[in-house]
């Protein structure tokens, strides 16, 4: 067992003081589901843990701002997140287990810096910015610049992630996150795909086809004469590179364009070519690249479905 002292500051200044005092010997801990696991796995051995659980400032739940200390459980229970930041809701609903979600925080998930972090891709497409504070002051960093490499973020020693400020989105916008796993619970993603899309209108004639179980290409066939235009889109991929990443070329492939089978398929292809997956115990590179193609299409469709049929909570028995 690693032996450490345990501190419970109740304000940010207190926490920062402790961090400065202990320097490299201390680690922040929130829900603990990453830190405790790393200690058990003998990867880290801090002499002190500075608990952030009791710092009220970190627990603010003030959409579109999420305090870093908000638990996945709180996010999962929020109807507002489910309706307006759906990709994030998708992510926390499939993260870990109830026991993990009850204590683990969105800030912890982001600060752990894993390419597989489930909340990362949704937050990337939801325009999140990281609110950071530290011994040297405050700063704001767009989330796409927050991740540096596997397990590494831009946080300097002693810095604390205070909050994640998501964007404010208007009408005709929805998002989705697809976590591709081997089993239906307690799993890390083989890859993760998040999409947020804004379209120019919702009065399409063929909206009802989204109720069916037909394949995507067939459904998009119906959209041919609708001239439904994508006004804005963000796409983020997890576990296909050293960091959770946006794919700007793919995004450019659909932004401002008409939604059709061709454009969506092309965007999926571009996204796959922008990704840099590796072989690992959890999945093979070729398969990950294939899944980018498949799941970007599905995530785009799911988001469009959420825009066009916002009151439908129950999705038909289809594959996406």
């Amino acid at each position: 067992m690693v032996r450490y002292e345990y501190y419970k500051p109740s304000t940010i200044p207190e926490a920062l003081d402790l961090a400065v005092r202990f320097g490299g010997d201390a680690l922040y801990i929130a829900g603990g589901t990453d830190v405790m696991v790393s200690m058990r796995g003998r990867k880290i051995a801090p002499k002190a843990l500075i608990s952030l659980r009791h710092v009220e400032d970190l627990a603010r739940f003030d959409l579109p701002v999420l305090g870093a200390g908000v638990t996945h459980r709180q996010i999962q229970e929020s109807d507002a997140v489910r309706d307006r930041f759906s990709a994030l809701h998708d992510a926390v609903s499939h993260l870990g287990s109830p026991q993990i979600r009850n204590v683990a925080t969105v800030g912890g998930n982001i600060c752990n810096g894993a390419p597989s972090a489930d909340t990362a891709c949704p937050l990337l497409v939801l325009n999140a910015e990281a609110d950071i504070t530290g011994p040297s002051g405050d700063r704001r960093v767009p989330l796409e610049d927050f991740f540096v490499g596997p397990g590494k973020t831009v946080l300097e020693r002693g810095e604390i992630l205070k909050a994640l400020a998501m964007g404010a989105f208007g009408a005709n916008t929805a998002s989705a996150y697809i976590k591709h796993t081997r089993r239906n619970a307690m799993d890390l993603p083989i890859i993760g795909v998040a999409v947020r899309i804004t379209v120019d209108r919702t009065d399409v004639r063929c909206g009802d086809v989204l109720c069916g179980t037909a394949p995507i290409s067939e459904i998009l066939g119906h959209f041919k004469d609708e001239d439904l235009r994508c006004e804005d889109i963000r796409i983020a991929l997890g576990v296909v590179g050293p960091r959770p990443m946006r794919v700007p070329k793919a995004e450019a492939g659909l932004r401002g364009r008409i939604i059709s089978e061709e454009t969506v398929a092309s965007v999926a292809e571009i996204a796959a070519s922008e990704s840099t997956p590796r072989d690992s115990v959890r999945g093979e590179a070729w398969y990950r690249r294939e899944m980018v193609k498949v799941l970007v299409r599905r995530a785009v469709m799911k988001s469009i479905d959420r825009i066009l049929r916002p009151d439908e909570r129950i999705y038909p028995d289809r594959l996406w």
Binding site: M1, Y4, K8, G32, N102
Partner: protein, 155 residues
């Protein structure tokens, strides 16, 4: 370096001396003699160590003992009635064949207990989600789900 910890355990206020680096699981099993909570993996991956803290299911193997301060903690030993009878969930597990080797059982029951506190009449899907963090190798889960369904308070 002993630290003093006060919390409510199975309905009773207690004060114990702990080392800051212990997990709650370690305190329960090694120091308080409550061996009903099991260690299945030590990594929060199997749920055998599940206890309830302030109404929520938590993996005690990953829970720093110092965070138990001032909390209400319930373990499997705390489920029996005052007369020593079985809680309806425990009885249902017995009656529906939901127990084979039984190692996962205390953690499984605690997750079910937490679920039933929040949802009096959970659907099958909600039951599966409620126990998705509890692994069982013996039963294939079917009879466990049946037992939880039968014992839901709203029934």
């Amino acid at each position: 370096m002993g630290r003093e910890l006060s919390f409510e355990l199975n309905g009773e206020e207690i004060k114990v001396e702990v080392e800051a680096h212990w997990t709650l699981l370690y305190l329960l099993r090694e120091k308080l003699g409550l061996k009903g909570t099991k260690e299945g993996c030590g990594y929060g991956e199997c749920g055998a160590c599940t206890v309830i803290i302030d109404g929520k299911a938590v993996n005690s193997c990953l829970f720093p003992v110092m965070e138990a301060e001032g909390k209400q903690v319930t373990t499997i030993e705390g489920l029996a009635t005052k007369e020593g009878g079985l809680h309806p969930l425990q009885q249902a597990f017995v009656d529906h064949g939901a127990v084979q080797c039984g190692f996962c059982t205390p953690g499984m029951i605690m997750s079910a207990y937490a679920l039933c506190q929040e949802k009096a009449l959970p659907t099958d899907e909600e039951i599966r989600e409620g126990i998705e963090g509890n692994l069982c190798r013996c039963t294939g889960y079917a009879l466990i789900i049946e037992a939880i369904r039968a014992a839901s308070p709203g029934r």
